[in-house]
Amino acid sequence: MRLAVLDSHAPFADRLLAGRRLCEALREHGHEAVHVGLPFAVDSAERIVDQMLAMRLLHLERAERAIGLRFPAYLVPHEHTVLWALRTGERALGEAGALVGGGSIGRSVRRSVFAAERTRLHAARTVYAPSAGVATGLQRRVGCSAEVLHPPPDDPGRFHCESYANGVLALGPSWAAPQRERVLAAVAQAHRAVRVTMAAPQAALGDLRVLADRLGVADRVEIVPQPAGEAERAQLLAPARALFTLDPDPDGPFTIEAFHARKGVLVLGEAGDGTLVRDGVSGRVVSSPEAAGAALDELTEDAAAAERYGAGGYSALHDGHVSWPSVVAALTR
């Protein structure tokens, strides 16, 4: 099948790994695939609609099917489109943050984003979401049912388990600032033996170290720069006891990478749909810093439990068919 993979990126910033890797996987399975990387830069809320319009006016020639990955590229019209909404309009607005704001123009832009997304998603042949959280958001926001199709890492093989010797690794998207503060609060509730390594963007390191000091956990939390890519994350995960995910989406890519490295995952918040992180099977799901502190204690004191959760996570990947062949099969079905 001739396939066009529609992807959006901020020029000179995004590397579009998922799109490129998907194309490779499609080619490995005998398809012709082109990666269509379309620029999308949010430097002004008012201009988001201009960029959406630009996408709507494009014509995709010769492709038998379009696979839409990220907003707003997946707005490009094509008669046969399958969407795998790795970045939704809601997420793009979240990234734009204060730029969009809550004023009347901000509300107008939001309304347009959701209206365009609603039209596009309902016209698509099938819609997949990368996690249960995203699927729920699409259902709530645009009334569209989406099947969950988890994205595997670019190279699942590079994630491995060396040992469970190090402390718990706290890792997530660079923008997850509130979650980092909650990790520090959880450590403050845990025993003195608990050790956590937390990654954060360079600009946030200083403030987080000050906060750790104020909470009295500076000697138990090592705050390191955010890893630049998959290889660096794999290195950090390999000796870790477990992952304390900072991703608000518990079934997001950080969890999947951890499971590939046979690490259990600690979630402070709500569980996903239960296919990946299950409390007591592939990790711990808790709802308060106090409970997270207790879970950190358990992981620190009980290495066997940490190993058991890691094995549970690795099995969940297989049970949930989290692999590139499964992705290719779904998107070309």
């Binding site: 319009l53 006016l57 123009i105």
Partner: protein
Amino acid sequence: MRIAWFTPYSTRSAIGEFSQHVTAALATLADVELWTPTAVDLRPSELPVIQFGAAGTEAALQPAGYDHVIYNIGNYWPFHGEIHAVMERHPGTVILHDRVLHHLLAEIWRREPQGLGTGYVERMRTYHGEAGARVASEFVAGTRAPVWESDEEVARYPLDAAALQGALGAVTHSSEHAASLRRRWLGPVCALFLPSYVAVLEAAAATSTQQPSPREGRLQLTSLGHVTPNKHAERVVRMLAEDPELAARVTFTIVGPYEEDSAYVAELRAVLESNPHLNVELVGWVDEQELDRLMAATDVFVNLRDPVMESASASLAREIAFGRAVLCFDGGCFAELPEQTVARVPAGDFAAAAAELRRLVDDPDRRLRLGAAARRLASERTELSYARALLAFLERSRAESPALALLDRIGAELGAMEADPRLPVYDTIASDFGRALEF
């Protein structure tokens, strides 16, 4: 070149008459086929006449391979509703015969499944801003009378640009209307004069003498056209009632169809009944032969329109062909006639109109001078010169049609996105297309 010409073609339609004469001239320059929803009482034509209904028009129109499709649109649903429906599906060039199209569109929208509800409000907002949306909302809520019941209000909210959705070009019969449309619609717009038909010029020449013979010693005043409030026949009657000396010297004949049950006609009849001593006749619709006879017998045509709701005045084009003085207001297409071809007074100033009427009655030389100048103008404005100008415009607008189609696509996309009109994307698009579609 093949042209499909959509028009009402009834003998009772002035636009049908326009189409009859213009297509005959156009047929000397191109292959023309007439498409009409009219089933009975058709005007004669040497050209192929295709009677269409709502169904099957696409099938017939698509493969026909016309180079241009022209839609004659006026503000009367029975004549233009079906033509508008085809126009929405097959873009073409629109000849706008009226500057007010509110009645036509309101009737079309009222017949949609959702009726005149929020859709009407949103359309009024699109074409006439927040003020339009407010009056539409109030009507939908039942707290005000419909806009179309007031001449002043429909003139304020004409919805003429709404009738051009998807059009490839627009022809008006008034420069001022064209200029107004250009400010509100980005497609190509051109103003052409409404022709005085050669047949009418010939009939006028055959039936007119230098001066009509006075009937019982009185001068003949005549008003032509559908009897509606904006033609102010009742004000002319009052004018005569207030000036017995003038009234004694004239007969005033009101010619044109009217609805017996309309409030305005009731008012006119009441004024006539309260002034039985005046020589005033309300004759209704007459056939063309009788019309020619009446016009030839006329000394002064009284054509006082306010507000002007038509793009041009068919009666004016006919009146000037007869070489008689025309008394009119200085507004709309009337204001665009050359100096000294008609007797013009400020729009809405009935005192000035009465004074000018007395002057015309008193001064036969002035009537002669104005009539001769009007006749010269009419003889220059024939249907053949109109057809040539129209073809030139069609060629120009064809060059713009790809850009216009893109603009429509953009409009549809922004509509689907519910994009806020305050967003800068609109300014960017207007600026880009303003340069591309500079007419």
